[in-house]
């Protein structure tokens, strides 16, 4: 499971600037001191409200190769996350095979508890909850991934332009980003969906409109620091066009950030679209996890004690969100030098007996010689 069981990890075969020097917080480490600045802070996070606060100087962007992608695929957290999300995608794709039949069909009497005939029971109008849950994955995941993609494209364009061109463009775009960050998302989303023509397209549009700002902010910060790197400065002095520099020099070094923001945006879109559907915005005749919850609530499931009508859909949303955020944590672990150093430290210290002592003084650990 751990990479250190493997005697020759890939990192050692292909030296790159970030893997050659061992991450040791030595008090003399000039790299550690020079890269540390004062405390302005970047807050990254998902609009769903999970926040991760990291000092702005970390991760220090370096010229990334795609090593992290291979390391990521060995990370146990990433594997768990990918497995969960893949299962749901498969369920969505093979819905007709897994739960044959029309999810909107009235199959039996209402509010039957789970049984062999109806795996998850029936809901307040006598529809099969298992079918609804399985088929619901389709729309929910579709909205999630499409919105995630749109948000990623928009936030990348805005964030990178602001960071790269700086000056006026940056001022305007940053102001815009901050405005959208400070505006409460769900209320805006709610009145947008209430005023606009109902439909999946409207929902996706509204989600994208309210959800791009976080990603843009993170990407702007990253572009700003990448812009100052030697290889970008070199290309600029060499007279390359801005377009070419952005796409061939900066973009390849931001793949992990872009991927991370795609995952956060998808998580946000799935949770928020479920929330919207739950309060009856969007198309309530469609089957997705949010509308399942809406009907459950509308049919008084809680009063009737019919927990099986809302638990499956809610659990699905939670599991997908959990899987996606696990991938993101793993991504962070792989690409953030500080977290990587910490993980390495934990591996190194594993099983050492001074680990358990509660001391914070330098351990004295005399080896028998």
């Amino acid at each position: 499971m751990d990479t250190h069981n493997n005697p020759a990890p890939i990192e050692q075969q292909t030296p790159s600037p970030e893997t050659v020097d061992i991450a040791i917080p030595s008090p003399e480490g000039s790299t550690g001191l020079s890269s540390r600045q004062e405390l302005p802070v970047e807050v990254e996070g998902t609009p769903a409200g999970q926040i991760v606060v990291t000092p702005a100087t970390l991760p220090v962007p370096t010229r990334q190769r795609l090593i992290w992608l291979r390391t990521l695929l060995k990370n146990p957290k990433a594997l768990v996350g990918i497995a969960i999300v893949s299962i749901f995608i498969l369920v969505a794709v093979f819905a007709p095979v897994i739960a044959p039949g029309d999810p909107t069909e009235f199959v039996d009497s209402p509010n039957l508890p789970p049984s062999a005939t109806h795996l998850f029971g029936t809901e307040g109008q006598g529809k099969d909850v298992f079918r609804q849950t399985v088929w619901g994955a389709r729309t929910s995941l579709f909205i999630g991934f499409v919105t995630g993609l749109i948000i990623t494209v928009v936030s990348t364009i805005i964030g990178m332009s602001a960071g790269y061109f700086r000056g006026r463009i940056d001022d305007v775009l940053t102001l815009l980003t901050n405005l959208f960050l400070v505006m409460p998302g769900l209320p805006l989303l709610i009145i947008l969906s209430a005023f606009l023509a109902p439909g999946t397209g409207t929902i996706i549009g509204a989600l994208a409109f309210t959800g791009w700002a976080f990603g843009a902010r993170v990407k702007r910060a990253q572009t700003l620091s990448l812009r100052e790197k030697d290889f970008v400065a070199g290309a600029r002095v060499g007279g390359e066009s801005s377009f070419k520099i952005i796409f061939s020099e900066i973009m390849p070094n931001m793949i992990s950030i872009i991927m991370g923001s795609f995952i956060s945006a998808t998580t946000y879109a799935i949770s928020a679209s479920t929330a919207l559907a739950f309060i009856g915005l969007g198309n309530v005749s469609e089957v997705n996890w949010g509308t399942n919850l809406y009907w459950s609530q509308n049919n008084g499931a809680i009063l009737q004690g019919a927990w099986w009508t809302f638990v499956p859909s809610g659990l699905c949303v939670a599991l997908v969100a959990f899987g996606l955020s696990f991938i993101n944590y793993a991504l962070d672990e792989v690409t953030n030098p500080r977290l990587r150093a910490e993980k390495e430290l934990n591996n190194v210290l594993k099983g050492k007996n001074f680990r358990k002592t509660r001391t914070r003084a330098t351990p004295v650990y005399r080896q028998p010689r």
């Binding site: 050692q12 003399e28 001191l33 001074f354 330098t362 080896q367």
Partner: protein
């Protein structure tokens, strides 16, 4: 007063332990200034931090002994260690900007040492903190200032005031002036000199600036790749450097006084400490040595009275004037 014997510090890493300090021995007598010189990464600061045991894992001390006035520092329990720190040895850190708490007033940062160790009341501690600022020539009103409101030189003085607060017998100064410009550097060094005369504490002075070091220290230890390669009186090191690395180091700084010399650097780069060269660690960069010395690590031995050198006996590359005496004891016991 301070005795360090065969100190070893390792940084654990996934690719195996890295020996940052590998068998270092020295001693400091009351009132003495011992200079510790060497390139960055040679383990100077690691030694300083290890003496107070403020290194954190993955750094661990893997061997050796540290005695301070008969106290076995490496065997102290947590609370004994807390009492020992600053009371017995205080430290001036490399960068005052980074070593002062940015959200605490200077007065509080001086006073909290006094409250902790001398059990003074907060008011008495502030009173004393004001006096300490006086000692380092800062206006008492600055007690209320936050670190960012002070100039670089003032911040460093404030750090020195904190280090003086308990009047410890030994003060470690880890590159105390490196971050400052030359004029301020001079002023501060002069001030430290005066304070030392007045208060008679010992100093472990760490720097890579050889000219500053020779002016300021009684004895100098030269470090290379985690080891002391030469240790002697300050003038002796300068006038009669024996180790090729010492010679290189001295030649790479312009002399402050005396005739102009041709400045030469040291070819090559410091070794990778994860896999240090076998035998004499300096041999890949050494201009004098023979390929034969890949065998064993040279030991530090007293080659002239009070002058210690790590070298291979009988190898003609190193020219030792006078006769080498038998390796009796670690150099610390000279005093």
């Amino acid at each position: 007063m301070l005795e360090v014997r065969d100190l070893r510090v390792e940084y654990l890493s996934q690719k195996g332990p890295v020996r940052a300090v590998d068998g270092v021995s020295f001693s400091i007598a009351p009132g003495e200034v011992l200079g510790l010189a060497g390139e960055s990464g040679s383990g100077k600061s690691t030694i300083a931090h290890a003496l107070l045991r403020v290194l954190r894992p993955p750094a661990i001390i893997t061997g050796g002994e540290v005695y301070f006035k008969g106290k076995d520092v490496l065997a102290l329990a947590e609370h004994e260690l807390e009492d020992f720190r600053w009371q017995d040895i205080s430290m001036v850190f490399q960068s005052a900007m980074n070593s002062l708490n940015p959200v605490m007033r200077i007065g509080d940062q001086i006073a909290d040492v006094l409250v902790r160790h001398k059990k003074l009341s907060k008011r008495a501690a502030w009173q004393r903190a004001g006096e300490l600022l006086d000692v380092v020539n800062i206006d008492k009103k600055r007690l209320d200032a936050y670190p960012h409101e002070l100039s670089g030189g003032m911040r460093q003085r404030a750090v020195i005031a904190i280090a003086l607060a308990l009047e410890p017998p030994l003060m470690i100064m880890d590159e105390p002036t490196t971050a400052l410009d030359v004029v301020v550097q001079k002023e501060i060094m002069q001030q430290i000199e005066e304070l030392k005369e007045k208060m008679r504490f010992s100093i472990l002075f760490i720097t890579h600036d050889m000219s500053l070091m020779v002016e300021f220290s009684n004895r100098i230890a030269i470090m290379y790749a985690g080891e002391i390669v030469e240790l002697a009186g300050a003038r002796e090191v300068f006038e009669n450097p024996l180790h090729p690395y010492t010679k290189g180091l001295i030649n790479s700084f312009p002399p402050l006084t005396g005739p102009k010399r041709k400045m030469t650097g040291i070819p090559g780069a410091p070794p990778n400490m994860a896999e240090p060269p076998k035998g004499c660690r300096f041999h890949p960069r050494c201009t004098m040595c023979q390929p034969v010395e890949g065998e064993r690590r040279p030991k530090l031995q007293e080659v002239l009275p009070g002058h210690w050198l790590a070298y291979h006996e009988g190898i003609p590359g190193v020219n030792v004037k006078g006769q080498a005496v038998k390796n009796l004891n670690p150099p610390g016991l000279v005093f």
